[in-house]
């Protein structure tokens, strides 16, 4: 297709009457170039519309200036959940600021996440990887550590024994505060319906919930804790279970808005008053939580900031080799689902 002759470093060199090496040094802002030469070379580059070939550059200095991201295949993880989209925005924005590009891949057939990473890494297409979640026994993390390839995860290690770059919310505290809020609203029997129990985020959110209950001397009841998936069905199913089995909580904490919708749908069907009879609170502050018939109290985890910070940490690591972690503050939005006093909503 493209048969347009590219202008190369040689053309610039010829025009500026210097060697290609010099042009290369001008491009990379080498300090050992006279200002005069630099100016002349830059002028010629402009004149010729020269733009360095990133591929050639990558080959020569063994770095692609590209970050890899494996897109999850399970629709539940991306299609429905705005988290991925917002985090992605943050990642791309952060990368752009640092002059990196983002390569998006997915897997198919018999492959898994690790296969797709291996491919990109072996092919030298990427310099580092962003992992969008952290699981209890995370094979992707294990793999990347084994081959000692730069990465940063959005999420946390299970415990502090594992050390790697990561950025996360303080999910324990967020969940703790949310539970406290429900207690402050006079709720005595608070259930939690959480997402995938293999996600560290789930583990942490349950932990925060338990912490608040223990602290305020409420009972910690096994019958009030459930895990499932990040979807509406999980919420509906366990809400139904709770009431059909006469466990009858007066508040339900969901770890994702989608789960909360399922909960609310059940409550509405049964004409259970929200928040008076049962309060609901949740995570992610998606547009649904704001627009829903009954606006839902929800924690904004600032997914875009998580994404942006993850890239920054990764790039810094690639340049300086220092492992970092960063906690992004959350914001709790109190709405009608948990507080009859709630003003605007």
């Amino acid at each position: 297709m493209q048969s347009i002759k590219r202008t190369t470093i040689k053309d610039v060199a010829k025009m500026a009457n210097v060697s290609p090496s010099t042009v290369s040094r001008v491009i990379s802002n080498s300090p050992r170039i006279s200002e005069e030469t630099a100016k002349r070379v830059k002028y010629c580059m402009n004149e010729l519309g020269y733009y360095p070939n990133a591929i050639a550059r990558s080959l020569a200095n063994k770095t692609s200036n590209t970050i890899g991201l494996i897109m999850p295949v399970r629709p539940g993880e991306t299609l429905l959940n705005p988290f991925f989209q917002e985090a992605l925005r943050g990642i791309v924005r952060g990368a752009t600021v640092c002059s990196y590009d983002v390569l998006l891949a997915t897997f198919q057939g018999g492959e898994d996440e690790i296969d797709s990473m291996r491919k990109l890494i072996s092919a030298s297409k990427i310099d580092g990887v962003i992992l969008m979640t952290s699981r209890v026994n995370d094979n992707a993390i294990k793999y990347l550590r084994e081959i000692n390839f730069p990465f940063c995860v959005i999420g946390s290690p299970l415990d502090d024994k594992q050390i790697f770059n990561h950025v996360d919310n303080d999910n324990i505290t967020a969940s703790y505060e949310l539970t406290k809020h429900l207690i402050d609203e006079g709720k005595k029997k608070i259930a939690i319906i959480a997402g995938d129990k293999n996600l560290i985020a789930t583990v942490h959110r349950i932990k925060g919930y338990e912490k608040a209950l223990i602290e305020t001397q409420c009972k910690l009841d096994e019958n009030l804790i459930y895990t499932g998936d990040f979807d509406e069905k999980t919420g509906y199913t366990y809400a139904k279970y709770l009431f059909e089995n006469k466990i009858n909580p007066d508040a339900i904490l969901a770890t994702d808005d989608l789960v909360a919708f399922g909960v609310v749908r059940y409550l509405l069907e049964k004409d259970i008053k929200i928040p008076d009879e049962v309060a609901v609170a949740s995570f992610n502050n998606s547009i649904l939580s704001r627009q829903f018939q009954i606006p839902i109290t929800s924690v904004d985890i600032h997914a875009d900031t998580l994404g942006e910070e993850a890239v920054k940490i990764l790039i810094e690591y690639m340049q300086e080799g220092k492992v970092k972690r960063k906690i992004v503050p959350h914001t709790i939005h109190i709405r009608r689902s948990s507080s009859s006093k709630s003003s605007r909503f």
Copy 2:
């Protein structure tokens, strides 16, 4: 960081007792290699864990096997709207099937979409581009045609005089059918509140609406047609306008679910019965349209399929140079917002 010595084509050649050229030919499945040699070389590649360096390959054959995608910056275009996310999934899936990767970039500061494309193209990082929308006077399309760079747009040209690769729904027909449905429900005065009027999709959806009205001899009233943005505010504002100015339509067609939510919010506030007093229908079949207090009739445009087909068309074009267009069928979901007879919802 990475000081692991890569195994290269030379290592394989040495082990297999052939020249690097031969190994290269085995990699690219050249037919002029004896089966025996091929087998031996493949064995050695496996043994050494060899994986071709994509960057070196790109440099040598001037093709990156990567497709570029410019992520819109305006939050309204991506953050809130699931269209982008679903289309992206389709794009990445389609690319993976064809062994392509997807490079995601955005712009910042004084740049625009075209600057970021220019960068990626000049740097030889991508072989083709997917455009996620088409506008009335689309500079991105103009630019790509000028430099004769392969691209495919999700959307349509304004008229058939412009020829380029694209995939789209038949928005005129979809809108026509939706309007007909409202007429069939007994509605006589149907308003349309559309998104950005510079988008071809908006133009087409208004056209389909008008076509249905003209055909059924309803009046075509300028006071019933509004354009704004793809957001809730637009819906709320114009719904309010329609009723405060006593235009009082008995149905409102929105061109996006977010717009529809704004409309519904206004109607609920004013205690206007849906669908009896005012019916509402919309586009995109987002999860909100299904989960909302009042489930909203909406057209599923199958954004993921649009994305997947766009990549396929683009890749075919890059290989064979044939310009193509494809129409992805839509699905209309009738729900309570427009039909009291609607069963499940």
